[in-house]
Symmetry: C2
Subunit: 542 residues, 2 copies
């Protein structure tokens, strides 16, 4: 009898552990991969409008089970019912969106090009689906970037079968979503193997190495994303790895905008503590004019905020270590959540409210994350008690000159931490932006559409980021045609790829040119009768 | 006084060496890179229609100097005046083509997406140029994939400055083309640094490592391409590497098509010996129906062909070694060029006409390439005599079952060599195709538009190649909107990229989304007055 490994499922609020589903055995992983490989030709040959129906079935199943799924997600993530119900609704809407993008057909890029000559040649070019796609979702969006999130739905929309690696931060939710998806897809008529789930670390490695897998989509930390990309590069036949990792997203407040400092400070604190700061689009750095009072306004507002649980003990540990590293490197605590209430003992962090490093500012880098005292349960299963994965949001003040390549301030600290730096001149702010790691998004807070400093700042950010926002915070990512959610390395592994929006499908395709192929031998969708009703360009247009 | 390294220039016809231009010093490389970095923002901000004018100036300069350039190219490549004049004319046409693609503007993918909501959000997405591009051209197309070839012109079209590494197989031509380009671009008003050339092995390495360089485009061997990609992956900030390498391109003759065997055999021999087989699109493998007589027809026609010089001694050596490796692995010589005339001593290969391996077929794998006896000139310069880099075209017969992953038959043998394999059934041919390395192109020879075997073969090839041709040879690559010249790994480093055709520009761009950016702060080309006259999609269309 073989021992079956059980994925542990933790409550971030209590640290309590219960048994999750069994991890996949090597045989189970092989079977899922085989099913995905067998399904792929059927999925890719299915008209995109029919695949849109499959995605509609997934959306409907999500909605029909919203309360149960959100409650389960809340048990494993502590992100809260309202946020999770909202995320589930957006996830369902995204599934429908990718279906509509698939059916609209622009992603095929179908083009018929008649090349003149003594014997004219006809080139028909189209993007075709790559093959089975392996998806590694994120801990912080259990729906949006989870089992049935952007990567899975855009891959199915593009004609690929999908194998998802269950995220260890929400194993029970992953299993529930997979069960729903398998049933919804079957009822909608999708081939067996269109979607599969595997669970466990070894299963994840097996996906990276599997010859059946044609592309990897990953959302998560830089460390994990780079490790995945490195392993995939060592395959006998390398495959594209679309890793959306994230770095420090900068927001610059122009001198004229600083007058609206309370609204900006409120928005900033709300944005960087949203979901306990566990967003790849978190504004991790606020650049403010010297003497604007913005840093102080941020401190006041943050002091009134409350601590809360992080997603996992590892994230809580990493967050605490990150804040310590940054305070050790010269960052000074501007404020921490709960400072305003510290006197009445509402926040029990041991060192809260104690000044550090001679700055006289409230709070300290220590004690922002609580170490769990949970017992190690091994493989034996069962439930055990623990301690909440609680963390205090904190803002650090950093000198602009400290923002240098290689400094720890340029590394993402995942969780509710942000840096505030003052600039003496716009030139100094522009120079600092150029020294940052490229990121997913950046924003400029302006005094209105004619703020003279907006143009240079937008231009500087456009060289460094995938999305530039004016007078908004980067944390909102609309699932829409014009969205680009990606960025230059190391924010993402591929600067040309997006994991949100209509172009997300393109990651899972490659172009093929059919030269002088007669109708009887063409893929049917490229024939002149255009059975998929694709937008079909003719020479000289795309 | 420093010693200046001189690039040697060889005549493939005689092996004679003369001095080429001086190789770039480290300081010169740094200056070229610095100029490219300074030019980039100016180049990318220039309206594409103006850049089209720069490319027109390059085209005009090529045409105005056609005879001189073709003569120089012939000295260094021995590809022959008519071929080189034709290639130059196509190169000039390509420069204009990329200019017209730039001006048409579809490559920008401009899209304005209004996201509904309580406060509607406006997302403007556009592809922006990456930065300076390093180009490593090929030996076999000194114009088309040379200093001013597809990579250079598509990169300038996309708004990038370009630094080319001179190819050691044609250093004098490279220098002459660069001189022309610099002058033409200056006269057309392009910024200094829009184009630069460096020369020498160390200069090439410096380009791969340079922080100024944002992307690499390479055309050449698998070995060199993979080495380049590996080095680039080790950069502190990795950059995209677009390496077009090529493998073995298969052509399948259907049973019904085999009746036209003489025309097919003639076409095949013409295609695989074109330019002495030094094409990445060379049909390297012909799959023919058993007993069709096609192999014998190929032998007869090839026997009447003539040997000729290869581009470099290294290619000639590699070719000879490759043919020996394949005959050693069980390939039997079907015929070699010159066999028909071997009796009168027209071909002096020592062993020509001697049967080998018990097949009784004419020719042998040995002696297909002549070793040069040229002296090593070191850095001292001057001219020395040598031996021609001559090679005999050869066709090898191989058993279908030998075409297995890992076998040497699946590795490209650069030069005028092709394999012929017979298949017993269409199923066997399809199974063999699936075992090949993916390639740039593949073709099916049919009995006409209703040949029942064409469909399955086209579908099988579409899974393996970037371009499927029916009733044509893969060696012709039209510079046109619908062309795709690329393929799955290891034919190319990026399956989604093409080095020929309108989509070639996309390699050198990445998308940026501008969210709620007011007109005054937007890049001007994205404003509603549309100064670049870009095709500008609105929500729900691309």
């Amino acid at each position: 009898m073989t021992t079956v490994a059980i994925a542990p499922s933790y409550s971030p609020r209590t640290g309590r552990r219960v048994d999750g589903p069994a991890e996949s055995t090597a045989e189970e992983v092989a079977a899922v991969l085989d099913a995905a490989a067998r399904a792929f030709p059927l999925v890719s040959a299915t008209p995109p409008a029919v695949r849109a129906g499959w995605l509609e079935a997934i959306a409907w199943a999500l909605e029909a089970n919203a309360d149960r799924l959100a409650a389960l997600a809340d048990e494993e993530t502590a992100l809260g019912g309202p946020r999770l119900l909202g995320e589930l609704a957006k996830c369902a809407a995204s599934a429908r969106f990718y279906g509509s993008v698939a059916a609209a057909g622009h992603w095929v890029g179908a083009l018929v090009d008649t090349v003149p000559g003594p014997v004219p040649s006809v080139l028909r070019r189209a993007n075709v689906a790559l093959g089975p796609v392996a998806v590694f979702g994120a801990s912080n969006f259990p729906f949006g970037f989870g089992v049935l999130g952007h990567d899975t739905c855009s891959a199915i929309a593009a004609g690929c079968s999908v194998v998802v690696k269950a995220h260890p931060a929400h194993p029970r939710l992953s299993a529930a979503l997979a069960e729903l998806a398998v049933q919804a897809l079957a009822e909608a008529g999708a081939p067996d193997g269109t979607f599969g789930l595997v669970s466990g670390f070894d299963a994840g490695l097996a996906l990276v190495d599997a010859p059946e897998v044609s592309a990897l989509a990953f959302t998560g930390s830089q460390r994990a994303g780079l490790a995945l990309a490195e392993r995939a590069a060592g395959r006998e036949a390398p495959i594209p790895v679309f890793a959306e990792m994230g770095t420090v997203n900068p927001v610059v407040v122009t001198p004229s905008a600083a007058a609206g400092r309370d609204a900006i400070a409120t928005g900033f604190v709300g944005s960087f503590t949203l979901g306990q700061g566990q967003f790849c689009t978190k504004p991790g750095l606020l650049l403010v004019p010297e003497g604007s009072g913005l840093a102080e306004a941020v401190a006041t507002i943050l002091a009134g905020a409350a601590p809360g649980p992080l997603l996992t003990q590892a994230i809580a540990d990493g967050y605490g270590a990150g804040v310590e590293r940054l305070t050790g490197a010269g960052g000074t605590v501007l404020a921490a959540a709960g400072d305003a209430a510290a006197g009445d003992g509402a926040v029990d962090t041991g060192e809260g409210g104690t000044g550090k490093g001679g700055t006289g500012e409230g709070g300290t880098g220590k004690g922002v994350a609580t170490k769990s005292s949970r017992a190690k349960g091994g493989d034996a299963g069962g439930a055990d008690e623990g301690t909440a994965f609680t963390a205090r949001p904190v803002a650090l003040r950093v000198d602009l000159d400290e923002l240098q390549p290689g400094s720890p301030f340029l590394q993402e600290c995942f969780g509710p931490m942000a840096l505030v730096a003052e600039y003496a001149s716009l030139g100094a702010a522009l120079a600092a932006l150029a020294r940052l790691q490229p990121s997913l998004a950046g924003a400029v807070m302006t005094a209105g559409p004619h703020d003279p400093d907006a143009g240079p700042l937008v231009a500087a950010l456009a060289r460094q980021v995938g999305r530039v926002v004016v007078d908004g915070w980067p944390t909102g990512v609309a699932t829409s045609w014009g969205m680009h959610h990606g960025g230059p390395w190391p924010a993402a592994s591929r600067a040309d790829a997006t994991s949100v929006g209509s172009a997300a499908l393109l990651r899972f395709t490659r172009p093929v040119c059919f030269q002088d192929v007669p109708a009887a031998a063409l893929p049917s969708f490229l024939c002149d009768d255009n059975p998929w009703s694709l937008p079909m360009s003719r020479t000289s247009t795309w």
